[in-house]
């Protein structure tokens, strides 16, 4: 039989992926979360300087379900989750697919600290008794997970201050080359308190407004999730959107219509925390796959 060997040999990974997604749904159901579905095609994505939405018949394919899910929070849905497709133009590599699967969940009354704890519970549930052995390293998910501030990580792994790296335009390079490879090796790592300028939809920390209440989860050097204590101040959010839009314009990137309905709903949004987790990446670490290609049925090149 000739057949599609590349697709056929992914069978065990795709079976594993299905089981992981089933365990995630089970986790949220037991926690009292409502599974929701919001439109993939939207008129006004959040303007973020470094994320490119793909145009779709005058509107855009979502880069995240964030704005619609926050409108649901504002309308009185306090615990919601969604597993959906997102699209980001030009993102392709062994850890990136331009069309990928995102898990987002939002919880009213919580902050990013509580979300770290819930993320630990979720990943433990998805990993099951097998734990995580990724690329030859055993990552202990049962013990308490490492937590490190972005500031400490720059000092420890890059030998430079976080502000200094930002001012010198080296923040992203140092994060990729010096810091990310050191995160999530012994246990998964939460790296938190990002510079205020790196969290357009995040609340600033009350006792240190130079940083935003934002964290990322890394496992085996791989970025798995991004979370915030959500910004609920509509005036501040509008100003942040305008700043991001100005940055996009300065780089010659396309502008998006302003997400007015989201901004109008924001004053009714309770204090909440929300998180976006890359399902494909989580499946990679749980199944010990070296490439994101190994955990999906089809990549864009195979269509």
């Amino acid at each position: 039989m000739d057949g599609n060997w590349t697709l056929a040999r992914r069978r065990s990974n795709l079976a594993g992926r299905g089981a992981i997604i089933a365990s995630i749904r089970n986790f949220f159901q037991q926690k009292g979360y409502l599974e929701v579905e919001t439109p993939f095609r939207i008129p006004a994505p959040a303007p973020e300087a470094q994320i490119e939405a793909i145009p779709s018949a005058g509107w855009f394919l979502q880069t995240s379900p964030e704005l619609c899910m926050k409108r649901m929070l504002s309308a009185g849905y306090p615990r919601i989750y969604q597993i959906c497709r997102c699209w980001r133009e030009g993102e392709r590599g062994v850890r990136h697919l331009s069309e990928f699967t995102m898990l987002e969940w939002y919880r009213a009354g919580a902050d990013y600290r509580q979300l770290m704890e819930e993320t630990e519970e979720l990943v433990r549930a998805a990993a099951g008794s097998a734990g995580i052995a990724y690329r030859g390293a055993t990552i202990d998910v049962a013990s308490s997970w490492e937590r490190i501030t972005v500031r400490d990580a720059f000092r420890r792994y890059a030998g430079i201050g976080m502000e200094e790296a930002l001012e010198g335009g080296l923040f992203d390079e140092l994060m990729v080359e010096k810091i990310e490879p050191r995160l999530g090796l012994a246990t998964p790592t939460f790296i938190y308190d990002y510079p205020a300028s790196c969290g357009a939809l995040a609340r600033l920390k009350k006792d240190d407004p130079t940083v935003a209440e934002r964290f990322e989860l890394y496992i085996g050097g791989l970025e798995i999730a991004n979370a915030f204590s959500e910004l609920t101040d509509a005036g501040e959010q509008r100003a942040r959107f305008e700043a991001e839009a100005a940055e996009r314009a300065a780089m010659g990137k396309a502008g998006y219509p302003v997400a007015e309905k989201f901004l109008a709903a924001l004053p009714s949004m309770p204090e909440s925390a929300g998180i976006a987790l890359g399902i494909d990446r989580l499946v990679m670490v749980l199944l010990d796959a070296g490439s994101i290609d190994d955990v999906v049925a089809f990549t864009q090149e195979e269509l």
């Binding site: 470094q50 030009g90 993102e91 992203d172 390079e173 990729v176």
Partner: protein, 187 residues
């Protein structure tokens, strides 16, 4: 012009007027941050490698390389001489630029000469070449040392390890990609 988004393994670009081939490529994008295009590339003239990281919007000049089918004629000092068998034009390539390819050059072998900006910068030899063994020690029957190979010199002067049963004067096939013995040629 290529942009950073075009970078991928195998792409040939020009940097400081020299051709480079990308040997490793990695797309990185730290959460909410900018896209970074991390490359390792080899200078196609010197063979030296370097690591470079690029950002969106950077542009690159393609390296246009031309393959010319030519015949190896002979070596002269530290140069090898090749001829286009249709035009009879001859070119010289330094031994240094030849790299490992010079291990496999026998008179009249047809090779692909790589041309960059009208200058020959190297040659591609066939994946497999047949060369005659000019020196190797005879296999001592009853050798109990357990050795499963022995050194042999072929007609180009190249020395490699061959199975014990290979004798002087025999023709062997060599995999030029690894430089290793492949098989014995029955004549």
């Amino acid at each position: 012009m290529y942009t950073a988004a075009d970078l991928r393994k195998g792409l040939k670009i020009t940097i400081d007027n020299e051709p480079y081939i990308i040997t490793h490529f990695d797309f990185a994008k730290p959460g909410k941050g900018q896209a970074l295009y991390r490359t390792r590339m080899k200078n196609m003239i010197s063979g030296l490698t370097m690591d470079r990281t690029y950002r969106s919007g950077e542009t690159f000049e393609p390296a246009h390389l031309e393959d010319r089918r030519m015949q190896y004629l002979y070596q002269e000092d530290d140069h090898c001489v090749f001829m286009d068998t249709e035009t009879f034009e001859q070119i010289h390539i330094s031994e240094a630029a030849m790299g490992d390819a010079k291990n496999y050059l026998i008179d009249n072998l047809m090779v692909d000469v790589l041309i960059f900006r009208e200058k020959a910068i190297g040659v591609d030899v066939p994946n497999f070449v047949n060369l005659r063994v000019t020196q190797t020690d005879p296999w001592v029957k009853g050798d109990t040392s357990g050795s499963d190979s022995k050194p042999a010199t072929v007609e180009t002067g190249y020395v490699l390890r061959v199975p014990p049963f290979i004798e002087e004067g025999e023709l062997i096939t060599i995999d030029t990609r690894t430089g290793d013995y492949s098989t014995r040629v029955k004549e």
